[in-house]
Symmetry: C2
Subunit: 335 residues, 2 copies
């Protein structure tokens, strides 16, 4: 039997559980909103499925539920936020309005976050920048899982970047959100739990050899998409989200899952660019570019799948299977 | 029989041929320097091999040899240059000092170029930014050759990006320079001329089907590295180097080879970021990251091959085969 929840209930449930686990309202509320947004777009891995992990991390001290992020604007186009080992979302919420103002002032601005944490669906942060009429280009890193081509020791995480492009009407014309690896590491974890093999080309074992054994892959490394070029894109993310931000290197970050290792202390870097500062007609050029993609049979714009889910789930709400409902304590909720 | 030239002679030859073809000294000199730099790093495709193309493009009007680029700084962190259908290099030289100053002022700055042209080795521009102690992140687009995954009409060019990271001592710790396609289009052109087949996975024919026929590939599209993720990275480049810059879309740009179609009118976008504005210790973190890559057996830092060539060619000079020497008119040069 499945349980159905509308999005308001998703957010309220997440908020309650986070506060019960010791998070302050200012730490919990932005995370609860992010869980709602993930469920709304059908990104279930960062929706209610992640809530038990957040709760565990509040309990074990990977996240400080009472952290107070600290903002600085050392130069006109530079914004920094110390997330103080709290959740990433409240630190981002603190800095974002300042980033947007700085981008309007200077034409371009950058915000870096340090002593931060997994920021959930990266594309959602980029999309908020696009909703302000700016190009959003966001980078976040993660505990190391990808080795350089030819090597065997992971140096960078699956290190995604996201790009959101304003549509001139308060939204994003499209949102790109992609990691550096062939597949998400969570896919390998899932296969490992089920005792299933993984396809060739996903991962290497600890000796740097191709493997189809999911457990061996988790002790080895994830393969980058497009070989050296995927590693290169992940390296760009590492430079901006970790080294520039003054965050921990991916090589030393504690895992985003489980309870050992203390705060991950990872970082983010978000760029905001005001197209009006550079040339007129940006929105028209983007509309023509997007049309040239989505009018082709068989092709689709980046983010199209999430938008389709959004249209559906906004009205239908989400269904939770019994197992997740149990883990969320919904069997004792009668309201 | 081969002809040997030291790098001074390479630059002098390039300068002479460009001026003979009608370029002003201010247009020709930066291009001649770029040819020297390409030969120095063993990037022969953008060295003297490209000189006959530059000369042809001056003759046919694809490049205006007397163009005077125009600079503007509409906001504190925004620099724009109208290359005025001249070469890209003098326009970049005009804007670069202003970009560097803007990045120091604001922490980050962006320079866009429009009505521009092929800018040669993209990594060299990023490297100059790193030599000023800043992170250089450069984007340039090209006539369309890559279709969106699932489609068959090219929408973006091979659209490379380059990243150069300062080493704290006036140089770059590493330089990444990669296109969005599996291989450079020039590789397919070469095979087509020789009547050779291309490997699977390089390109599609005009119907969007995989092909090993180089001629059919040139009428079709180049495959992006890593599938949709390579296309995504190329799309990021398109947004910044074309749409933001106010340049022509890749879909409408005239070819960088041959003499038809008038000026390509393509664009570039260069970002410069001052690490000191965001956190202390950047150079140490980059050194540790670079070491974690290059100390692994079998792995190497991005740009390592070019650096090795540089060390060698700085002293040895370059060798030209008879065919290229003839095309450069070296058989009539007795000096």
């Amino acid at each position: 039997m499945a349980i159905e929840l509308d999005l308001d209930s998703v957010e309220a449930l997440a908020l309650r559980r986070l506060c019960e686990a010791g998070a302050s309202l200012s730490q919990a509320a932005p995370v609860a909103r992010s869980i709602r947004a993930a469920e709304r777009d059908g990104v279930r891995s960062h929706g209610l499925m992640y809530l038990p992990v957040y709760v565990e991390h509040l309990a074990c001290g990977k996240v400080d539920g009472n952290a107070v992020p600290v903002l600085d604007r050392p130069r006109a186009g530079a914004v920094t936020v110390d997330a103080a080992h709290g959740f990433a979302h409240p630190a981002i919420d603190l800095g974002l309005p300042v980033l947007l103002q700085a981008a309007h002032d200077c034409g371009i601005a950058a915000m870096t976050l340090r002593r931060s944490y997994n920021c959930g669906v990266l594309g959602h942060h980029a999309e908020r920048i696009a909703e302000a009429g700016l190009i959003g280009l966001c980078f976040t890193h993660a505990p190391a899982s990808i080795a350089p081509v030819g090597g065997r020791l992971p140096v960078i995480g699956t290190n995604p970047f996201a790009l959101a492009v304003p549509d001139g009407a308060g939204g994003a014309r499209f949102v790109l959100d992609q990691s550096a690896s062939v597949v998400a590491k969570s896919e390998v974890i899932l296969r490992s739990r089920r005792g299933e093999a993984i396809p060739e080309g996903w991962a290497l074992d600890a000796e740097g050899r191709p493997t189809r054994d999911a457990a061996a892959a988790l002790k080895g490394s994830m393969l980058p998409a497009g070989g050296a070029k995927g590693f290169g894109t992940g390296l760009l993310v590492e430079v901006l989200a970790s080294a520039l931000a003054g965050a921990i290197p991916s090589r030393e970050a504690s895992p985003f899952s489980g309870s050992v290792g203390g705060p991950p202390a990872t970082g983010q870097c978000f760029l905001a660019i005001d197209p009006a500062a550079f040339a007129e007609g940006f929105v028209d050029r983007i509309a023509a570019l997007a049309n040239a993609i989505e009018l082709q049979d068989g092709a689709r714009l980046p983010g199209a799948r999430r938008l389709a889910a959004r249209a559906r789930i906004d009205s239908s709400g989400v269904r939770l299977d019994r197992d997740l409902a149990d883990r969320l304590g919904l069997h004792v909720q009668s309201d």
